[in-house]
Symmetry: C2
Subunit: 411 residues, 2 copies
C-alpha cells in the first residue's frame, strides 16, 4: 500500500495550486504541523521586520509616524484581515492581545443592553471564559454566564441573553461551530454574537457579514503567521459602530488624539476600538505576513485543508489505530476546522519523540496530540511521512524510556 | 561668547562618564531631541530582533516557547525595569499598552474598596483620563473623578478617595510631581496611588518602594528605546499582590495556564496582571534595549539630564528670548523631568524647519516645541548646535513661506 499511496500523495502535490506558496516559507526539512500554535515566518515578514528596524525606526526615528504612516497600521492590517473573514474595509482594527480584544468587545456589548446574560461554550478556550469572569466582577451587574455543551448552545439562548460568545473552531478537538446557524439563533432572541476566530482565520473561509455576525476577534500568530505573540484583531459590524461604545478607552480611539483634549470623544468608526499606541514592529510583521494571502482564494485553501485533514485521519486510523490512537476530531468536514486531534494515553511522550525527529505538532493535556493543517506550506506527501513516523514512534514505546519528560507549550 | 561656550561644552563632553554609550546608537549626524517620543534603536535591540526572527522564530518555530523561554519574557523584562524604578524583582510585569496597563491597575484598585473617588491631575496625559472615563462607565459605580490643578492635588485627597493617579512628568511642560510627598498624601487618607512613569523611566531615577508607592505603569518606547509602540509595564507593590485582583483576565495571568482549566484561578504573584500571550518580538526588543542600562547608575544619568536641560533653557533664553520664545518648563530642577518645552506662536513651523535640517524635536498643539534630553546618547555640544539652528530658523521667519504645513506626530 505504501508505494501506491506515495505516488497518489505526490500526484496530489503535483496538482496543488497552492504548492508554490511553500517557497515563501523557509521550513527546510522540518515537517511543521503546529501552525495552529505558531505559524512560521514568511520571507515577507522577515524582510519587512529588517526594513522596519533599519530604515524606518533607525533612520526615520519618530518621523516614522508621518513618513511610514505607522499611525494607521491598525486599520491597514485590519483591512487586509477583513477580506479573509468576510468583513468590509473599516470594520476591523488590529492591535492588543486576543484576550484584551475579547474584553473590549464583550464589555461594549454588555454595556449596550439591560440584559445581563452571556451564553458560551463550556469547551471554549480558557482565556475567553476568564475574560467573562473578570467582566462579571468589574461591572457589578450580576452577569450570568451560561456555559453550555456544544450541542445545547442554540437552545440556551433566550430573551434574557445579551451576548453569545463562541470560539469558532475548538482549540483541542478542532470541532467547528455552525456560524450562520448560531448567529441566527442569537439574533432570533435579540442577542449579539461575538466570534473568536483564533483557530479559523487563515485556514477556514469566513463570511462574517454574509451571516450577519456582530463582533469577532482573532489571533494573527497561528494560521496568519504574524509572529510569536503578534497582535490580535477586533471586528465590529459597521451597523454597531455608533451604538457600541468602548469601555477600554485610550488615546488612539479618540476622535482627535493629537488635540490632546482632556475630554473623551470616541472616534466614530472602528478606530474607537483601538486603545494605546500602535505596536509598530509587531503590526508590520503581521502586515507583511498577510501579503502571502494576497490573491489567494480561501475556498481553495479550505478545499486543501479538508482534503488533507480527511486523509490524515484515515491514515492515522489505518496505521496507528491498533496502537490505541483515537481521532478526536469530527469526521464530518462541515464540523471540522484545520487541525486533527488524536488521543493516546502517552500523547505527551509520543509528541516529544516526534519533535526530536523534527516533526512538529503539539500536545494538550492530558492525552491529546494536535496536528495542524496549514495549506499554505504543507505538502500531501508530508502526511505520509508524519504517519509513518507516528507509527514507528508508537511501536518503539518511548514512554518506557526516561529520555522524555513532560513539557509545556503554547497554543 | 560662542567660542568660549563651545570649548566649555566640549569640555563637558570630554568629562562625561556616559559619553561612550552614544556608540551604542547609530545616530550619525542627526541631532535627536525626541527621545521622549520615540527612542532610537540601540544596536543591541537591532541585533536581538534579527536573532529572534532568524534563530528563534524561523529556526525554532513553536519550540521557541521552551527553547528560548518566551513565556517568561514579561517577568524577565519586568525585572530589568524594576531596577530602574526602585522596585523589587517580581513586582513588574511587561506587556500590553500603557493605556491597557492603566486600566488593569486602576480597575484592580477600585475593585478593592468601597470608596469611589479618583483624584487626578487636570493636565494628565489624555489617555490616563480616558481610561478613567471608561472605568467610570463600566463599573456603574458612580465613580467620581476629581481633576485638579497640579498644586491642589494633595489637598484634594480625602477619606473618600480610593485612588490618586498621576503622570510623574508632564508630557507637555516636563513639570515633575513630588512623588514621595504625593504618595504620602494619598496614604495619609488611606488611598492608593498609581504613577504613570512614561516620561520619567530611563531618564529620572525612581524609587517606588522607597516612597511606598502602590502601583505604577510606564512606557518603554521613550527613554527606554524599546521600539515604536513597544509594550508597557505594570508595577504592583508586593504587599498588594494578594489583595488586588485583576479584572482584565487572560490565560497568561492564570496560576496554571497550561492546565487549560475553565475556572479562573489567578496566579499569586505579579504574573496575575499579565493577560494575553507575551509579545515575543516586541518584548525581545525591549529586553535588548534595556541592556544598555546595565551597570548604569541612574543618578549619573539624572545629573547629566538636569545639567543639560538647565543649559538648554539658559541658551534658549539668551539666544532666542528676543524672538518671543518662552520656556514652559520649571527652572527648579526638582520640578523638572527630562525635556525642555518652549512656547512660540509659530512653534509648529519652526519645528518643521528644524526637522528639515535633521534636528529633531517635536511639536505639541497649539504652540509648544519639546526637546528631550536623553543622556545616553546626547552630547553637550549638541545643545549648542540646536540653539544656533533654532535662532537661525526663527530669524528667517519660515512661517511666512508656505513650504511648511501642519503635521501631527506621536508623543
Amino acid at each position: 500500500m505504501t508505494t501506491i499511496t506515495k505516488a497518489f500523495f505526490e500526484s496530489l502535490d503535483a496538482a496543488d495550486p497552492l504548492a508554490p506558496l511553500r517557497g515563501q516559507f523557509d521550513l527546510g526539512d522540518t515537517l511543521y504541523f503546529n501552525g495552529n500554535s505558531l505559524g512560521p515566518p514568511p520571507r515577507s515578514a522577515r524582510d519587512r521586520l529588517r526594513q522596519v528596524v533599519e530604515s524606518q525606526w533607525r533612520a526615520g526615528l519618530a518621523r516614522g509616524w508621518d513618513m511610514h504612516d505607522w499611525l494607521h497600521l491598525p486599520e491597514r492590517v485590519g483591512d487586509r484581515i477583513a477580506r479573509l473573514i468576510g468583513a468590509a474595509p473599516g470594520e476591523v482594527v488590529a492591535g492588543d492581545s486576543t484576550s484584551v480584544c475579547l474584553f473590549k468587545l464583550a464589555a461594549a456589548a454588555l454595556q449596550s443592553t439591560e440584559r445581563a446574560q452571556v451564553v458560551t461554550d463550556e469547551a471554549n478556550f480558557p482565556t475567553d471564559l476568564y475574560v467573562l469572569s473578570g467582566l462579571r466582577e468589574i461591572t457589578g451587574r450580576r452577569i450570568e454566564v451560561l456555559r453550555r455543551p456544544v450541542d445545547r448552545i442554540a437552545a440556551s439562548v433566550s430573551g434574557q441573553t445579551a451576548l453569545v460568545t463562541l470560539t469558532h473552531v475548538n482549540f483541542k478537538t478542532s470541532r467547528m461551530h455552525d456560524m450562520p446557524a448560531l448567529t441566527a439563533a442569537a439574533h432570533d432572541h435579540g442577542a449579539l454574537i461575538l466570534w473568536d476566530l483564533s483557530h479559523s482565520v487563515g485556514a477556514v473561509p469566513l463570511a462574517l457579514n454574509a451571516c450577519g455576525a456582530d463582533l469577532a476577534v482573532g489571533c494573527t500568530y497561528k494560521f496568519l503567521n504574524g509572529g510569536p505573540g503578534a497582535p490580535a484583531f477586533s471586528f465590529v459590524a459597521q451597523r454597531h459602530h455608533q451604538r457600541l461604545l468602548p469601555m477600554l478607552r485610550g488615546w488612539m480611539g479618540h476622535a482627535s488624539p493629537f488635540q490632546f483634549s482632556g475630554e473623551y470623544t470616541s472616534a466614530s468608526d472602528s478606530r474607537r476600538y483601538a486603545v494605546g499606541t500602535p505596536e509598530v514592529l509587531a503590526l508590520s510583521s503581521v502586515d507583511a505576513s498577510l501579503e502571502v494571502f494576497d490573491g489567494i482564494d480561501m475556498t481553495v485553501v479550505r478545499e486543501k485543508s479538508v482534503r488533507m485533514s480527511g486523509l490524515l485521519m484515515e491514515l492515522i486510523e489505518h496505521e496507528c489505530g491498533e496502537f490505541g490512537m483515537e481521532i478526536a476530531t469530527p469526521t464530518d468536514p462541515a464540523q471540522r476546522g484545520s487541525h486533527v486531534a488524536v488521543r493516546h494515553p502517552e500523547a505527551c511522550t509520543i509528541m516529544q519523540a516526534l519533535i526530536a525527529e523534527n516533526i512538529i505538532g503539539d500536545f494538550r493535556t492530558p492525552d491529546l496530540m494536535r496536528f495542524a493543517i496549514a495549506p499554505l506550506y504543507l505538502r500531501y506527501a508530508d502526511l505520509l511521512e508524519l504517519v509513518a513516523a507516528l507509527r514507528k514512534t508508537v511501536e518503539t514505546r518511548p514512554w518506557e524510556s526516561d529520555v522524555f519528560r513532560r513539557r509545556a507549550t503554547v497554543t
